[in-house]
């Protein structure tokens, strides 16, 4: 039932899905520019490109979620028009999204049912769900509500939901972004198995070593165009990167100058209840960040990073004032503004809506973090000229590209807005900088600028704490790395000891200091 290839057939010359000259235009912006792509059965095909290259757009066209402005799709040689995802599913195309399409307050079974045609009864779906999850080694409890599940478990729902329709083509969009290295390995086992059953797999990623390990073919996109199709195993990471980015990205220069001095940010046995019932409790988090160093906190999303950031920034006050010390001052009971007055600065994960007000101009967005201590507010009145001056300085120092002098924040591209947000804080020369996911969703050029800026800030004597899901990024800039798991922080490892393997184990909870067995295993079906 699960082997979809015709009996005894060798690799067919006919591609399963053929995309011809697909283009997609949004106003003036060309997200996809005449892309050709062929997908064959029993093959894992990578779609490579950096953030913003057009991968997600192309794939949404293939799934019928958006209509191409030009171009055609062929399925087994027949031209097709997809009016919506249900057409795609009917043909045998399944998709696992990067941002899960799940419903928090509904159960696993209800979530799966919503992704399947209405013709099957709910009871039958629950039954098949249990079988499938057992068969593929993706344990799930059908009656659990999604909000209780971890990120890895939620992804299993997406995968099982797609598999239950017996797809001949399975598309996965950046699936390992939210997994530990060990969970990623388990995923690869499942994908190899699916390939063995004759299915075609389209694997979107920007992680080069994964692609080299897993994929038979790779198509590289850059700026909306297809650059090349190649065999990733025959290429080097460097050659693939060059195709993705179009040039050699300058290596980030390691910090020169004095080594770390005294601790400027001290977190001492910080414990905090979440204010949201779906949140994570922080337990006895301890860490010291010294002036002159960059310390990283690794970890899969949802393990308390958001709560830690909120506690550090002052968006949430902690019960014990001494649990957070900034340049010698107890800051746990101080609000955000007071912490900024102590010389601390913060960059949250979400740049639109949290780090900036999307529909306000940049000159007002600089007021967001600068109103207390930067001379832009006099006797309660806002000095407009001063705010514009700050915008200009940030734009110049951080190469922020924008359409006019003072646009709305939402009109900037991801990379440029992130440069603005980081630059806004760094220009205040903070003694302590806490930044969360500094280059998430940012193109490689902007990412390099940001990472260099963080290193340079540390070199000038500041203490920089970087919370990131990207192990490569932490390897590049952090001198020490600790791992966050279920609200606890591991002791930090020096860069040399912080191998992917070791970090991966810690990210999955395998540490001597961690609580006993993962709670998810005990209630899962098919575990």
């Amino acid at each position: 039932m699960h082997d979809v290839s015709p009996k005894g057939a060798s690799l067919p010359t006919e591609p399963l899905l053929r995309a011809v000259a697909i283009s997609k235009r949004y106003g003036d912006f060309l997200a996809n520019d005449r892309i050709d792509l062929d997908l064959y059965p029993a093959e894992i095909h990578a779609l490579l490109g950096e953030n913003g290259a057009g991968k997600s757009t192309l794939v949404k066209v293939m799934y019928g979620l958006i209509q191409p402005s030009e171009g055609e799709l062929y399925w087994s040689g027949q031209k097709i028009v997809l009016a919506g995802p249900s057409d795609a599913r009917a043909l045998g195309i399944g998709m696992v999204f990067q941002h899960f399409s799940l419903f928090e307050n509904l159960t696993v079974a209800e979530n799966v049912a919503l992704g399947l045609p209405a013709s099957e009864s709910f009871a039958a779906i629950s039954q098949r769900l249990a079988e499938m999850s057992r068969m593929y080694g993706l344990p799930l409890d059908p009656r659990r509500e999604v909000w209780r599940l971890s990120v890895g478990e939620r992804q299993r729902i997406e995968i099982v939901r797609a598999l239950m329709q017996n797809p001949r083509l399975l598309i996965l969009d950046e699936p390992t972004a939210v997994l530990t290295p060990q969970e990623a390995d388990q995923l690869f086992v499942v994908l190899e198995r699916l390939k063995g059953e004759g299915r075609a797999i389209l694997y979107i990623s920007h992680k080069l070593d994964e692609v080299k390990r897993l994929c038979d073919t790779a198509t590289i996109l850059r700026g909306g165009k297809k650059i090349a199709t190649c065999n990733p195993r025959l290429e080097t990471a460097a050659s693939l990167a060059r195709m993705m980015v179009g040039a050699d990205i300058g290596e980030v220069r390691a910090a020169s100058g004095h080594g770390p001095s005294s601790p400027r940010l001290v977190i001492r046995e910080l414990s905090l209840e979440p204010d949201d019932p779906h949140g994570t409790r922080l337990e006895n988090v301890s860490l010291e960040v010294r002036g002159g160093e960059v310390v990283g906190i690794a970890g899969v999303a949802g393990n308390g990073q958001d709560e830690l950031f909120a506690a550090l920034s002052g968006e949430r006050l902690v019960p014990s004032g001494g649990a957070i010390v900034i340049d010698g001052r107890a800051a746990g009971r101080l609000g955000v503004t007071d912490r900024r007055r102590l010389g601390a600065a913060f960059v949250p994960e979400e740049r639109l809506g949290h780090g900036t007000a999307p529909r306000m101009r940049l000159s007002e967005n600089v007021l967001l973090t600068g109103h207390a201590a930067s001379g832009m507010v006099k006797h309660g009145f806002v000095d407009k000229a001063a705010t514009l001056a700050v915008v200009d300085r940030t734009t110049a120092s951080f190469d922020v590209r924008k359409a006019k002098r003072d646009p709305e924040a939402a009109s900037l591209s991801g990379g440029n807005l992130q440069k603005f947000v980081v630059g806004r804080e760094i220009l205040r020369e903070p003694g302590v900088l806490v930044v969360s996911q500094p280059t998430w969703g940012v193109d490689a050029g902007a990412a390099a600028v940001i990472r260099q800026a963080l290193i340079d800030l540390a070199a000038r004597g500041s203490a920089v704490l970087v919370i990131s899901q990207d192990l490569d990024e932490l390897a590049e800039i952090a001198g020490r790395v600790a791992v966050m798991f279920h609200g606890r922080l591991s002791p930090p490892l020096d860069a040399a000891e912080a191998t992917r393997q070791r970090l991966g184990l810690l990210m999955g909870g395998a540490s001597t200091a961690a609580p006993a067995a993962e709670p998810e295993a005990s209630h899962a079906v098919g575990a």
């Binding site: 191409p68 030009e70 609000g335 949290h354 007000a357 529909r359 007021l367 507010v377 806002v382």
Partner: protein
């Protein structure tokens, strides 16, 4: 063929200016149709509603008198709405202010007190309105209860409360059993600006409030806080602004202005406290606030415009027998068109698969 909405990269300034004008034009067209259905001459009716009141001094004064509470309450509401705090209870806060201010007038009636009485009444009125508005604010901040429903319920309570006072303890003993307080002393009355007319100093207060609000909202850090919390609450928290404090503050400002409008109305044009002193000012002010795009100067213009329609509606009832309810209908329709046209500032409408283009497979 499908019409879809597409978010613009930036707000369109052309649309921002054209929108209220288009909205007014569409409303006038709709009203003309309604007039025709009612069997009245549309042109004549529009003339009576909008042109006639501008032609004589008495009507112009009445417009100013009617606009004063609308503008005062509207500006207060704009502080709330900008912050995404939905104060629907301005009518109740208006009455609360009327009551607290009147308390002083009633209890010093006929005692020959000095001129301090009027400013004290205004202060009490503002205070009363502010305190009454803090009830739903505290319910929201402390308990998370919807301020829309709580503030609205309190309107009914305020109305009934005032009814009780005016029929009971505060009733004029020499008033032949009418449910009203005694006429306020001259020192307890808002002075008129022109002898013999009803135009009173409240209009000046309204203008001052508009100017003050413009400065506060546009130039101060407090105004920025209020705008930020409505635009991006997470960013406001990140900015160090206290959301709870802002909810309380905006409700208090709004309540104070509504209460001030209440006592001015009672101590000015009316001269005593009685049931029905508000023909729904608190609700009409909501329309004024949206029509004025939550901008103090816009609210001033919108308030004058709506006051114009009130006066026009009254004279249309007399001269053309058009029911007064039509004014309310007009206001509701106007608000709809304003909201609809405003959408075009943030979105543009695109036509997909237009029927005049040949349909090809993937377009």
């Amino acid at each position: 063929m499908q019409l879809v909405l597409e978010r613009r990269a930036e707000r369109s300034t052309i649309a921002a200016i054209a929108s209220p004008l288009i909205a007014i034009a569409l409303t006038l067209i709709t009203m003309s149709v309604l007039f025709a259905i009612l069997g009245k001459n549309p042109i004549a009716a529009l003339g009576v509603y909008f042109i006639e009141p501008l032609t004589d001094a008495y009507s112009l004064e009445e417009i100013a008198v009617k606009a004063t509470p609308l503008v005062l309450i509207g500006v207060g509401l704009s502080f709330c709405y900008i912050a995404n705090v939905w104060n629907i209870g301005a009518e109740g806060q208006f009455l609360a202010g009327a009551v607290t201010g009147s308390w002083l007038a009633v209890h010093t009636n006929g005692m020959g007190v000095g001129h301090w009485v009027l400013p004290a009444m205004l202060l009490l009125g503002a205070l009363g309105g502010a305190l009454y508005a803090l009830i739903p604010a505290i319910c929201k901040v402390r308990f998370g209860a919807s301020e829309i429903l709580t503030s609205l319920m309190l309107v009914y309570v305020a109305d009934l409360g005032m009814d009780y006072l005016v029929r009971g303890p505060w009733r004029d003993p020499h008033g032949l059993n009418f449910p009203t307080t005694a006429e306020f002393d001259p020192v307890a009355t808002v002075p008129t600006l022109i002898d013999g007319s009803r135009l009173h100093a409240g209009a000046i207060v309204a203008l001052l409030v508009v100017m003050l609000a413009t400065v506060v909202l546009g130039r101060t850090i407090m105004g920025f806080e209020i705008r930020l919390i409505g635009a991006a609450p997470k960013a406001a928290r990140f900015s160090g602004f206290n959301a709870d404090k802002l909810v309380l503050l905006t409700f208090a400002i709004s309540g104070a202005l509504a209460g001030l409008a209440g006592i001015i109305e009672v101590a000015g044009p009316v001269g005593h406290l009685q049931p029905g002193i508000s023909p729904g000012y608190g609700f009409t002010a909501i329309i004024v606030a949206f029509l004025g795009r939550l901008n103090p100067v816009g609210i001033l213009i919108a308030g004058l415009f709506l006051a114009l329609t009130f006066i026009g509606g009254e004279s249309a009832q007399i001269s053309m027998k058009i029911p007064l309810d039509l004014t309310k209908v007009f206001q509701g329709i106007l608000l709809f068109f304003v909201l609809a046209c405003d959408s075009l500032i943030v979105f543009r409408i695109r036509i997909l698969n237009p029927f005049w283009k040949p349909v090809h497979a993937n377009a």
